[in-house]
Subunit: 121 residues, 2 copies
């Protein structure tokens, strides 16, 4: 047992990510049930893997931003890695698609559709 928690690269500053086996659907849904985090994930889905935390235009303080990114990472939704002083963020699309095929796309489309609808289309 003792799930392989994707051991951090030895020497450097590394961040704990859940192994794919540890990712729980409930956790993913919970992470995405916050509008702010859902927005972050949507931005990440269209952009590249190379978005720093500060590239997002969230209407909360820096500490709160850190908090939300951590929730997303700990739920297994995003991957984070340091690159100098910046922390680059990327969707764990590969892992999520392997665990829950089609789910991420459905969620992203649902979010897009809702935004369109609420915009008074």
């Amino acid at each position: 047992m003792t799930a392989p928690v994707s051991v951090p690269a030895a020497g450097s500053r590394a961040l704990a990510h859940p192994a794919p086996e540890e990712i729980r659907l409930e956790g993913v849904l919970h992470a995405l049930s916050d509008p702010l985090r859902l927005g972050i994930v949507r931005e990440l889905a269209v952009g590249s893997d190379e978005l720093a935390c500060s590239d997002f235009d969230v209407p909360v303080s820096k500490s709160t931003t850190t908090h939300h990114f951590r929730v997303l990472r700990e739920a297994g939704v995003i991957r984070q890695v340091y690159r100098g002083t910046a922390k680059m963020n990327g969707l764990r699309r590969d892992d999520l698609d392997a665990l829950f095929p089609g789910l991420l796309d459905s969620l992203l489309e649902a979010a897009a559709r809702q935004e369109e609808r609420l915009a008074g289309a």
Copy 2:
């Protein structure tokens, strides 16, 4: 404006449900992010529309069960109607599919897949 909150049938004991326009993706995800509620929805998805609250075998007290069903109803995930002393529950599959095509099925499949995986398949 003033969204039509699907006015309850006049005289009888009726329950407030959100109108389709009021259903929010975040709310749905939040409702489903609880293992208990996700389980209820999964049972509802395979069974008929005719399941009473007491037909579910949840490991919590009656009051807590009431609470969870209310969360699901207020998020727009289920429909509830009184039938004698019982309260019958049904998925709002039609409304959900119209708002978020494919999402419900993706979620149900993801849940099934995870259960299979965790059962040590």
